[in-house]
Symmetry: D2
Subunit: 341 residues, 4 copies
């Protein structure tokens, strides 16, 4: 079998572990040939690829990033690819394409699959918001980085009797904020899933100070937004759904709290640190398993599917199922978090 593999979308710890696993399983067990397309779908369309043997993937398991590079693709070019997908596969000589990516990548994968390209997808997002799988690799690493930051900020907040607002990744789903907030012992968590009222945070901080805990750390997803009209100081922009949105919610919220509380409140924006670097053991194992199962699925002709963690097992789910809706944080998970604020 000749397998093509590519990585697309944002950086995510564990990508290299998938690539390595695919190559090992395919080459060693099945005697397959593997080629890697450069810079995502671009490399597929531009015929930029290189052969991947055991040596090519040596030493990459613990490394962040992706040895294949990644890039965004214009929609027009994808449509073009879909028009003659079977010919493209034939021309490249690949029996299956394994794209590793997030929602956009998997949607593209589905379109290619529907157009006749044999495809097995591997989901990837540090946001953990793909509904068909219990978890995605990269998420554990991102949560770990954010948690370590909160651990560090707590000592500073406490020593200086200060409020800290930590903005973590999560534009549409608040999983990173939820889990790093819980793990770091944040005293407030704001998610995109439900608008928050700064007044609630003010009350929490004042109650803490009243009982002698003269500091607080609040963990905010970058996509969180206040309930309309609740931010007294400063105004946000109105988005396409009519919601008031603040660009840089961490900074806006820290300002709001400082005004209302009359105490120092400092924002910390973690940014891209969350999506780079060596993956945790959890993510390396999950990524390795995904790679293994993607190769097996290819050999069993289970195309149009992607790998998914279900409990302790890896299953193959239809791509169609995977990308229909975003997995957001349900209310009961938020209830669990709130009780330990």
């Amino acid at each position: 079998m000749r397998i093509g593999i590519l990585t697309a979308g944002g950086d995510c710890p564990g990508l290299n572990a998938v690539i390595r696993s695919v190559v090992h399983r395919a080459v060693t067990h099945h005697g397959d040939e593997v080629i890697g397309f450069e810079d995502g779908y671009k490399g597929l369309l531009d015929r930029r690829y290189r052969p991947l043997d055991l040596n090519a993937v040596s030493g990459i398991l613990a490394r962040g990033g992706t040895i294949l590079g990644s890039a965004r693709l214009e929609r027009g070019r994808l449509a073009e690819a879909c028009e003659n997908a079977p010919e493209l596969a034939r021309e490249l000589g690949i029996d299956v394409l394994i794209p590793i990516g997030g929602e956009g990548t998997l949607t593209a994968a589905r379109l290619l699959s529907d157009s006749g390209m044999p495809v097995v997808g591997v989901p990837k997002t540090i946001d953990n918001d793909i509904s068909a799988t219990d978890r995605t690799f990269g998420f554990d690493t991102a949560v770990g980085v954010a948690t370590e930051a909160i651990d560090r900020l707590k000592t500073t907040a406490e020593s200086h009797q200060r409020v800290m607002v930590v903005e973590v990744m999560g534009r549409h789903a608040g999983w990173i904020a939820l889990e790093s907030g819980m793990a770091g012992g944040a005293h407030g968590i704001c998610l995109p899933e439900r608008p928050f009222d700064p007044a609630d945070l003010v009350k929490m901080v004042e109650e803490r100070f009243a009982r002698g805990k003269k500091f607080a750390v609040i963990c905010v997803a970058e996509g969180a937004h206040p309930a309309e009209g609740t931010m007294a100081y400063g105004k946000g922009a109105i988005d396409q759904y009519g919601h008031e949105r603040f660009h840089g919610i961490g900074t806006a919220l820290a300002g709001e709290l400082e005004h209302r509380l009359g105490k120092e409140a400092r924002p910390v924006i973690l940014g891209h640190v969350q999506r780079g670097g060596s993956p945790t053991a959890y993510d390396r194992v999950l990524a390795t398993r995904f790679g293994w199962h993607a190769v097996e699925a290819a050999h069993h002709g289970r195309f149009g599917r992607m790998t998914a963690l279900r409990g302790t097992r890896i299953e193959m789910v239809p791509l169609a199922e995977a990308v229909t809706e975003l997995k957001t944080v349900p209310q009961d998970r938020m209830d669990e978090a709130e009780s330990v604020f």
Copy 2:
């Protein structure tokens, strides 16, 4: 409600996170009173306990160990407790006991429960070998520590063209060896679940050297043992099942490989480092969720059960179910690992 809590058995990162979560949920949400027994069941029988309020659990989320202490209990004393379990609960004034522990602790919990003590258990083991739950807290931390060690050892092995044998915890189940071996990219993994033949490892090392990879790292669970008669150098003791066992299998195996290969092979025994220290974010979240659900179960009168992770949900499973059989590494998980050696 008045809740008694205790921690028993070996150290496990995340114990304090459970205690903190139980106290927060019980006190803040339900207005309960919580007392903590010292040194496991001993404190229960000796009436050694202290009240646990929010201040008592402040700052412990990220700390390893257990603020309540832990100790082994003689069987005789447990039997005694079971004889008058309801009276004991009444005397202590507790409406429910939440024991956090491993197989032994949960078995004791079940006996107490059967004897009339209202009990809600929380499973704990770094070995991850409790069958009723997908994962236990502490395991992720142990795997993380072992993986970091393997990462470090690989550079040394490579620079010195050497074979390294890393012995990790896992007496009856090889989960730590499996996952840290996969995550660290070990070239061989030996589990208690199936006897290994040193000849296979010798072959693997020789093949690696032949293709220019002049080093190897082998990850061995402390409970792993060779197939009978396969260790040519040195003899093990025969255990109760008639198996040949080596005390300190890591050291024995390194010696065996050094003899057979004529190359340096060094053992590294990770030991207790794996079970102490600050828990990973994953373990803190799981432990916090377990604590929350234990309190809820108590308030819903769901006694005789323990918390369990099933997929992404926490469920309450009968204690009877939890302790019947050990969760060992199935063959398909081992297959996944082998393909990336």
Copy 3:
């Protein structure tokens, strides 16, 4: 002897290690009594203090922050304290005051000392800019945090062919930027010590891309500023010395580079994460040694001095010497860094 101790100024990993060391050495070896003032000099003036015995400092060695709290002091109140320093010491019953702090704290210490208060200082700053000592504790931890961030960002930058600008702490001296930039392998470092020209960075990035290294990471101290008139896009404010300064130089520089290069350039502002959390082993050792020598100096009546690292030895230097000039990054250290860009 009765020793008073206080921590003042910004948070700095290792403060607790000094406190612990002072208490251990004083109590165990000399049979002294130690009291800790709360919230820096404020506690001294407000007579807010608590006794510190071995139990009070148990378990704090590895913890960030300061168990005594810290706060800024108004100048007026300090002047007032200096007027009757000997009386104040007598009233509090302290034979020596050990203030742990940065430039401001040590200047205050010197004034108190000149006014008749027996003082032994301990220098503290994550910025490492106190000239009388080779190194200060906290610096190593800050560099470690920043280096880990750069390690992570490099993989993301590489996978996405992107320029990353990391802003680290260092308002007046660029030590953190210098060492984390060297340790992380940054491709450009901007320090407060000498104005930079964005054109040089543009050239460096273009040369890298030209030889196939399609990413770059630039490490900028928060106090770095461009040579006048060199930032083509956007304008800074003119400071008291007539220099053009940009608030948020990391963000400003990323914007500038994006404009000039026509490539994505993203800022990451590490912020307070650098000054909190568990100190590195290096900082714990240095802080512990400083505490030990401060107590010995007190017992030898060597007042008006502070602890300083000179080579491998701890020496006592006059406070007057310590605070006269800032230790900035000399040109030869910058030369060393530049050769590995």
Copy 4:
């Protein structure tokens, strides 16, 4: 100029950082050519080397081990090399040899230098026992790994009221034990520099238990040994100096303490984990500076010398000076450590 470089002796985090720094400085600044000999002096004698350009050292800064490999050399072959050192240099076309290594490597470097080979040495040892330099790279990483292990073990020891004996590296000098013991807050430290009496440790543990601290951690250098006749249980072997030595002092001491105290005492042997893996920021900076200065020294014809850290500066010291005596832990450093037990 044509520069030859090699790494010899045990693994040490920072070796790759030196190699990278030498190549960058030499190639970029001076336009030199650099070749790397494989497996230490063996590669020199066997003419096994490869050219090192910027690409060859890309991405190695943060990686442990050495890309050049390392190996022991038989004395005979070295003597042979010394006989015709100038011819060897001429034949290889190298204008200078930069060997990076410990005592043995530097002694060999000195012999080669005395025989007419232009040599500039770079000292390397995780043990920090080279007298001519304040510190060596690798040491900080080793201390960091050992400290993290002690941090972890303390929670386990405390939860189980147990004594832990941690054996760290250091055959002839106790620097790692000293600094990781101080940084980890060990309650006893045993060094090769002075024989210990187990009775002192027993007393310390009993005093701790008496005041309610029911655990202890003891940090032992692998080269530490008891004062003669003080180990009551078990007997050591007599070494060439007539001292009683125990193979595996950590294990022997734990056994001794368990017997005497009647409490569990467990050994943990950290082993090779201490010398592998990614170097700390401190070690990367020091290694990079050493590489830079080695190249400059070569260009200034300062042969027969090695790089050394003196305070904050890198100086060039005669190789003769460097290897005359071991830098051991002086009594005053031990005094500092003892006060915080």
